[in-house]
Symmetry: D2
Subunit: 225 residues, 4 copies
Amino acid sequence: MQDRPHQDKTGKDAPRLNPENPPDFAVTRWFNTKTPISRDSLKGKVVLVHAFQMLCPSCVAHGLPQAQKIRQRFAEDQLAVIGLHTVFEHHKVMTAEALEAFIKEYRFSFPIGMDEPQGAGAPKTMQAYEMQGTPTFLLFDRKGRLRRHYFGRPDDMLLAAEIMALVIEPKAAKKEESIAIERILAATLLVPGHDHGHEHGHGHHHHDHADGCCGHDHDHGSCGG
Amino acid sequence: MQDRPHQDKTGKDAPRLNPENPPDFAVTRWFNTKTPISRDSLKGKVVLVHAFQMLCPSCVAHGLPQAQKIRQRFAEDQLAVIGLHTVFEHHKVMTAEALEAFIKEYRFSFPIGMDEPQGAGAPKTMQAYEMQGTPTFLLFDRKGRLRRHYFGRPDDMLLAAEIMALVIEPKAAKKEESIAIERILAATLLVPGHDHGHEHGHGHHHHDHADGCCGHDHDHGSCGG
Amino acid sequence: MQDRPHQDKTGKDAPRLNPENPPDFAVTRWFNTKTPISRDSLKGKVVLVHAFQMLCPSCVAHGLPQAQKIRQRFAEDQLAVIGLHTVFEHHKVMTAEALEAFIKEYRFSFPIGMDEPQGAGAPKTMQAYEMQGTPTFLLFDRKGRLRRHYFGRPDDMLLAAEIMALVIEPKAAKKEESIAIERILAATLLVPGHDHGHEHGHGHHHHDHADGCCGHDHDHGSCGG
Amino acid sequence: MQDRPHQDKTGKDAPRLNPENPPDFAVTRWFNTKTPISRDSLKGKVVLVHAFQMLCPSCVAHGLPQAQKIRQRFAEDQLAVIGLHTVFEHHKVMTAEALEAFIKEYRFSFPIGMDEPQGAGAPKTMQAYEMQGTPTFLLFDRKGRLRRHYFGRPDDMLLAAEIMALVIEPKAAKKEESIAIERILAATLLVPGHDHGHEHGHGHHHHDHADGCCGHDHDHGSCGG
């Protein structure tokens, strides 16, 4: 995709994502929350971000119901679940008003933010996190570091186990403690078709593709029904 | 609902739906078809109309996939499957352009028409057919008579059996032949919780409600997620 | 398979299945019925036979629940649904007593017969009908003729449509009437990957294989979990 | 139930289950393992035991596939998954030979033991662990202590999160460390309809009943299809 930060049109090298200190969310409007959410306001909690588009079939059928189920299973003071509407196609119709109606009809209860648009391409947070499409899940630890990035459909067991591990990891965990948790996760969770054994492991991508994902790698976004 | 034809604001009795000669579709724009579709152009085929809204959860999860599956199971020259976008809420965001993107992303292959809006309430075809909400299925015989009207989620077996019966009923069926088919259907298909034994049986309603239906019986439309 | 009737061990040509006059069921014991069932006692009704084994995963997960659902959707005086326990492997453990417990625990309500064993191979009815394994569905018309034979997992719409067509076909249908019904079915129902266009069409096989079917084509039976 | 250890027929008080030092498995035969499994041989691993009956519908449809999925998701050197065939009804037909055929056809890959029978009632391990029926899940920590007991259908997220927490808990965890883990679990995992807030929390029962469970609380076992 032409407008990724490290391939930007100016020819300059854009800064790559640093999972130890990832960028804040660029959100133009929030739903289901009285006060805007920032990465600072989330410090101390594990955070699951679900990036979706309301016209992405796999998000509607799988990603969003899964995020809602996680919201109902894990306590809010331990885990924040946040939706991020990352519109990279059909910009004219996936508006704030449309999203508001969508959230109302589907009765999602977690906060959902609109990723800041940047013209015709991927919105700002999506670009900054180098997301490849929707649905995407990002998982952050209590210190705000990006620990997991899934494009596609990670299953319930995988997400729940990784969330639980990060809930157990202390807020004041030293680097060695985080590495120890990552080593246990790498030794325990079998990801079919993937080498899961990164020792530091922050922010590495897993791509559990499935029909219905919407990618924006090409000139025009494309979804699979 | 205040704007139903037989309760219209003028105080005059509006004409009630006549299933033997039901009204034509009032469609402002068609997708997935080069030429507009009218009830005349469908004469000779059995016709299944699926009335939906793109922001109705039960339509997206159940009704539309079912219509698509019926399209793939039954031959086009015997059965026409037609979608009807009957917007009775969130009018500002369920536009033609939004519907076009929705159809593209979900890859529906059957013709879909936009029911003609009438201000803030139910659109014209929806009103004329006295639909109570979405999802709704209408089933017409080869002569264009309305034979079934379901609000909610009729199951695959029920729809397939009734479609097959109407496919078998000759185009030139005499009244007695149609009554005979209806008697067989009434004697054969068990509809849980409903008395199915109407002898003439045209256009009677079944309400197989389920979570996620969107009704417009009250002042404000309401969906269930 | 070595013990099929037309390849029997005596070297003589065994009679091939005649769908116009198929053999009676060879059943050693019936459950869920006070009186034994024969093809004579079923004359006048459409009949769906589901051949299964209690240790066949696809039968337990798909075939038997589908047969039960069909039982609940179609009236008993129009359609008979009959289970047939066709044990061609693990004979020692799939006994009458085991089957009785199985039927009780799963709460199947339709009559189920035990196909007459013939040593280590396929039982008598299974052999006579040239079944290839389980799950298998056989569909008979009101005259007792075999009209469909599916090995694997035909879907709900296909079975319901074909059952409905045979329910509509008169008990005293002349040959031309039956051919007309078959022509309509062939013109209407699209069977993915199969040529469905047989004019007389009795007893032709469809193989909608799927994981979990148990076949007995080889020296030893094999199932897929 | 009359044959529970603390209500035994001799009138003597039977020993109640001690989750800190639960009894060993009484198994008469093992499948899918070359060497018998004892609680000693499992020390150091987290252990998930799934108690089932091959004629229990909910075990076949839910419990066993879930156990198999857990086996495929978690590494064997961190988590042992063990099936336990706890026959408390239909003893004559749920034999070793029947179980062997069942395991083969369903392709379960984890070790499965036959709980030692005790006449017509619940088998020995089932009784010692005070199980109420099938499906039941028992979860043990690396020290061999019983930490969870579910009768019914705990969901994938709940089981995966609790397994992961026990995988993280060190083998040489001091009592305070285990209590800390339990406190985090109690503060994090929301169990609908249950007070999950036990501080020490070993071996407390959750009953996530669902249709198809088989209970043995009454004179005669009963399943629900």
